[in-house]
């Protein structure tokens, strides 16, 4: 087996917790093009600079901890091979997710993100049958089996969202998608009214950047449009005395 090694430059904005702005630092890394961006970051931490901070846990796209911006695009770095994002002797900019406060280096503060999702009461485990499987056919015999829901709460969608970038009050695609999934799973505590607000489903500009970067096929953009449909049905029913039939 031939082991190929590439030499690449990784540029990371370095920032301590008490600093107002970041300073770019370049690291030269020798790495196989089949290794991932997260491997490269971990290698820098292990062999070059033990002060580098980043989030990671599962290394196979089930935990959602390692979201970063790679050359300006949101990526789950544990499943992003180096060869997909650069070439030999190339440079990679690896930055923390946008639209979250930076704690240090590549670590962002996710407290509000998780508080907002929790308020939506999305299911953590669903069955194969449920509406959240938009993209794959399910055999009848496995429809009732359990399955962890697809959303891994990585925050990539929020980072990519152009509305979240300009409006700090916007609930954002992850929370709205969570609410849609809670409603689809008929969870009693899910409140559709949480989306019926100028900072909710109506604030979305349909850029669909969220769906484009989602590493887990959650399709937040589709789900926000579905919430609007449900809100329209509910509101028409209210305004016109309940004569409108539910689709």
């Amino acid at each position: 087996m031939i082991e190929i090694t590439w030499k690449i430059t990784i540029r990371i904005p370095r920032q301590r917790q008490d600093e107002i702005s970041a300073e770019w630092q370049d690291f030269s890394v020798e790495i196989s093009p089949d290794e991932t961006v997260l491997d490269a970051v971990e290698k820098i931490w292990a062999f070059q600079d033990h002060t580098l901070t980043f989030r990671h846990a599962c290394h196979h796209s089930t935990c959602g901890a390692c979201g970063m911006r790679v050359n300006g695009v949101e990526k789950l770095t544990c499943i992003t091979p180096i060869r997909e994002v650069t070439r030999n002797n190339g440079t990679l900019r690896v930055e923390p997710l946008r639209n979250f406060p930076v704690v240090s280096d590549l670590v962002v503060d996710l407290s509000r993100f998780f508080e907002d999702i929790e308020r939506m009461h999305p299911p953590q485990v669903a069955t194969n049958r449920q509406d959240n499987l938009l993209y794959e056919p399910v055999a009848d015999e496995s429809a009732n089996l359990e399955r962890l829901v697809d959303c891994i709460e990585c925050g990539l969608c929020v980072s990519a969202c152009p509305v979240a970038l300009t409006d700090n009050e916007y609930l954002g695609p992850a929370s709205l998608a969570a609410l849609q999934q809670a409603l689809a799973a008929s969870i009693d505590t899910a409140e559709i009214d949480l989306a019926d607000h100028h900072t909710g489903a109506w604030r979305c500009h349909s850029a669909f950047e969220c769906s484009a970067v989602c590493p887990s096929n959650v399709e937040p953009g589709y789900r926000i449009m579905d919430l609007r449909k449900q809100l329209m049905q509910k509101n028409f029913k209210q305004w016109f005395g309940g004569k409108g039939k539910r689709a």
Binding site: A46, A57, S61, E118
Partner: protein, 392 residues
């Protein structure tokens, strides 16, 4: 004001998080330091098998019993991060088919409910399994999400008063003139500032790194980091964990997780576990072996490969052995260092009982006769770990 005994736990993997929760429920004042994110070492990188004990029921009865007992408890308290569809142990070869009686006897002895299935039933349930399967057992295996399991324990501890310092790297452990570990210095990696933390007891729950941390206190813990490789594929080929009906070996398990299938694993020894490169040859061997069970892994798209370093314990030490699966070292008893305990070994499925046994030891040192309560309550939502205010 009554002052609670203070405990400092180093390491926020499964063991450290479960221990923080247990000790907090028993009334200790608990602080946890972790150099990275929760579960950013070995714990996060497990394949996520909720063991039924089936894998050990023939050659390691004690471990198997521990697994099935904890399996039942975790299914109750940690439903939020689990897929539980039962699993299978399937015979592909004649040799494996002949293992049937041994396996059944082992399972019965350990109290693991198993049921024999003919190949037609197996293939009806899991059409992706090799059509030449000869039969197999249905066993109570499940899958869990590793980070969320750790976070659920950590959240439950934090919401009840435990304090977590993530991104704090241990820099030194201070031992006083009476051979007592009294405090540690840690570097806050967000700020580069060094702080000192005092405690009545310091617990080293750093798994594969336990030897390195123990050395800072001048004691020896014989842990051998033993990594294994895992590969995740882009397709949920099966809906239940599928094991080979044999003693544990390389490439003998394939698990579902969300939209993926994960195969595991291999086993080799290393000295340094901060970064373990992936050996392409090992990956290929494992895929070949897994394809004997589920041929479609050859066509499935690659999603990720990763390494996880198990903390295996060298045998033949004078360690206080709680079980073959994990060990809790009271360093006062084995090396004369007071106020310092190491808990290591074990597996995710047994993290709660590891915490229970360690908390029993800590309680006995303070003449506190409190009972373990961790099996009684459903864990708090893992998301609440990140809340700005305790979610109680």
């Amino acid at each position: 004001m009554s002052s609670k005994p203070t405990v400092l736990i180093i390491g926020a993997g499964f063991t450290g998080c479960a221990l923080a929760y247990d000790l907090t429920l028993r009334g200790f004042s608990v602080t946890v330091v972790e150099r990275g994110e929760i579960c950013s070492g070995t714990s996060g990188r497990t394949h996520g098998l909720l063991h039924s004990g089936g894998r050990y029921c023939v050659n390691d009865e004690e471990a198997a019993i521990e697994c099935i007992e904890e399996n039942i408890i975790l299914r109750r308290i940690a439903r939020q991060c689990m897929e539980f569809n039962l699993g299978m142990a399937v015979a592909i070869t004649q040799e494996e088919l002949q293992f049937r009686d041994n396996y059944q006897a082992g399972a019965e002895k350990c109290g693991i409910p198993v049921r024999w299935m003919e190949s037609s039933e197996i293939l009806a349930r899991e059409p992706a399994i090799n059509p030449s399967v000869l039969g197999g057992f249905e066993i109570p295996d499940g899958t869990f999400d590793p980070l969320r399991l750790g976070l659920a324990f950590a959240a439950s501890a934090k919401n009840r008063g435990a304090v977590f310092f993530t991104y704090h790297q241990v820099d030194g452990i201070h031992v006083d003139g009476q051979s007592r570990a009294t405090n540690i210095t840690v570097i806050n990696r967000h700020t580069n500032q060094r702080i000192q933390l005092n405690a009545d007891v310091i617990i080293n729950a750093t798994g594969a790194w336990a030897g390195k941390i123990a050395a800072l206190a001048g004691v020896n813990v014989p842990v051998i980091p033993t990594p294994g490789v895992m590969v995740a594929f882009n397709q949920r080929l099966i809906n239940r964990p599928i094991n080979r009906l044999a003693l544990p070996g390389d490439g003998d398990i394939i698990l579902p997780q969300r939209r993926m299938a994960v195969i595991g694993t291999t086993s080799f020894e290393v000295e340094d576990v901060d970064y373990i490169p992936i050996d392409a040859g090992q990956v290929q061997q494992m895929v070949d072996r897994a394809a004997e069970m589920v041929p479609a892994v050859r066509q499935a798209g690659w999603r990720g490969s990763y390494m996880s370093a198990r903390p295996l314990i060298q045998s033949g030490t004078d360690a206080r052995s709680l079980s073959r699966t994990f060990k809790c070292y009271d360093h006062e008893a084995d090396q004369g260092l007071k106020g310092f305990i190491t808990i290591t070994g074990g597996k995710a499925t047994t993290c709660r009982v590891m915490a229970e046994k360690t908390a029993d030891l800590v309680s006995s040192k303070f003449n506190i006769s409190s009972q373990c309560q961790t099996s009684e309550f459903v864990l708090d939502s893992y998301r609440t770990f990140y809340f700005r205010q305790p979610a109680l």
